[in-house]
């Protein structure tokens, strides 16, 4: 089982000061698997996925991504980050660069791709997220939904094997959520390994292979969507689901 895993977290612990934010977290993710992580705020879900590309450091346990163990070794960190794309709640586009430059920047400077090739790639990615006409605008001129799609295109341009989504629709107006989720569904259908932190339960039901429910720094429940939504084991999960589904 563990040989197939592309991501493997073993007994991961992390503290912010005295606050024990991740407590003995174990998670195995197989290639092409789509995981949706949910849980109340402060439960450590964002921190967990941020540990996977080392935006946060874990203090105990081991994290292995695509055969590379995350330690203080800078070279390993760089290699992992090349494999793992990430999409943030606040989009984090580079405001001083045009949409096209946002996408071509990393391929040109990190992968040493020739400029013309990178621009072609950028246009292909923008087609995938369905906004090629915005290529020459600046992020500040786009709507939230468009910005988030550019952010997805920017990550995809590095050709990652794994995509992490950290509440990608939480900062969006309701009418824009769908356009972003549609892009993510396409991506999932294309066979990308994905870990998505989200409260969009409709999305979870459609694409998730496995649901992970976290609370107070622990993984409380891991189950197939079917079991998770219809017949959860833990009371904490039941409570959470009843709150989130009755909104």
């Amino acid at each position: 089982m563990s040989e197939e895993s592309i991501i493997s977290l073993k007994n991961v612990n992390k503290w912010f000061g005295d606050f024990h934010v991740l407590q003995d977290v174990n998670l195995e993710v197989k290639k092409k698997e789509r995981i949706v992580v949910c849980g109340p705020s402060g439960s450590g879900k964002s921190t967990m996925i941020r540990c996977i590309n080392r935006l946060e450091e874990h203090q105990e346990g081991s994290i292995v991504v695509d055969g590379i163990e995350l330690t203080g070794n800078l070279k390993n960190i760089d290699n992992v980050r090349k494999e793992v794309g990430m999409v943030f709640q606040q989009f984090n586009l580079f405001p001083h660069l045009s949409v096209k430059e946002n996408i071509t920047l990393a391929p040109i400077w990190v992968k040493k791709m020739p400029k013309a090739e990178a621009e072609e790639l950028a246009m292909r990615q923008l087609e995938i997220v369905k906004i090629p006409e915005q290529a020459n605008k600046y992020p500040g001129q786009l709507s939230g939904g468009q910005q988030q799609r550019v952010a997805i295109a920017r990550s995809l341009a590095m050709n990652p094997n794994i995509m992490l989504f950290d509440e990608p629709t939480s900062a969006l107006d309701p009418e824009m959520i769908k356009e972003v989720l549609d892009v993510m569904v396409d991506l999932a259908n294309g066979g990308m390994t994905m870990i998505v932190v989200t409260h969009e339960m409709g999305f979870a039901k459609t694409v998730a292979d496995r649901m992970v429910f976290m609370d107070e720094g622990k993984i409380v429940e891991e189950a197939s969507p079917d079991k998770f939504f219809n017949n959860p084991e833990s009371d904490r999960t039941k409570l959470f689901l009843s709150q989130i589904l009755h909104q």
């Binding site: 935006l55 980050r81 794309g85 943030f88 606040q90 984090n92 580079f94 990393a106 990190v110 600046y138």
Partner: protein, 377 residues
Amino acid sequence: MNEMNEVRKPPVATTGIIGWLRINLFFNWTNSLITLFVIYCLYQFIPWILDWTIFSADFKYNYLGEQITNQEMCSRNLDPENGGACWAVIYVRFYQFIYGFYPKAEVWRVNVAYVMLALALLPLLYAKLPYRKYFLYFTYIFPVIAYFLLNGGLGFTEVSTNKWGGLLVTLVLGCTGIALAFPIGIMLALGRRSKLPVISMMCTLFIEFIRGVPLITLLFFGMVMLPLFLPEGIDMDGLIRVLVAVTLFQSAYMAEVIRGGLQAIPPGQYEAAKSLGMSYWRMNLLIILPQAIRISIPPIVNTSIGLFKDTTLVIIVGILDLLGIGRGTLADTNWLGLSYEIYFFVSLVFFIFTFGMSRYSLYLEKKLKTGINMGAD
């Protein structure tokens, strides 16, 4: 309803010149009173200053038609009822004001350097300049050319820096100080924010020490102490010693200004850059610094203008910049008592340069603002 609104025009009294006057100058009676008072003051002041500086002033000849060679020949000293400013002092001493005591035979080199400076600034001032790339290459090598041109070497006769003076020294100190302090300041700012404690501590110590000491002290330090640190036999040029002091001073201030800009960059920008696999240097050069410097343009120009004016302090270590030449002229018995004219002229020259810098910063701000919207939206 909507159609009606479209054809309705705003009330006449709120638009056009009359509207503007009413809103801005005569909004209520206090406002009107202040407006009238200011108009009265301007009415008193403007004719007087124009008369003094231009209409009644001597430029080369006094009112008797004689060429002025000393202060006694100024119209206002011959006849206190007659005459305004005596600009002849500037005319006679113009060479010193612009070149100091640079040998006349070699002065073309300074002129070439001035023209080259203008050319080097051109691509920075106009982004749409044709062949801008080649002009920029010239900007990069200009300091080297200027060094040999002004100082000598490569076939040019050497002109010792103690013969330099006036605007030449002011520009050399100002431009070199600003140009060198900028990259050093960036490194110090990054260093101070570094996670490596030794680097961060060293940068912080340097910045706090330099900022905590008056520029005059640093100038004395450069003059007196710096030679002690050099191996015996090597004599460091006086102007270079001052330049080192000025550059260190300016880079500490620049570092703090840029650090302010760095702090305004949301952490998400770092995270996005890192998640794309960028190294520390790429992240800073491509993502963080361009944004941080953009935010810091007003304070960067502010400290640069400050430095440009502070270069006048070099007078206390015996280097004669523009103001120094002015004070020297005043001490000359031929031109005793013409302090108004001389200080007016020196102020005007400084104002032209600093005002230019301030306009340039506004232009940059406007140009770089296009489409930029910091933050999440």
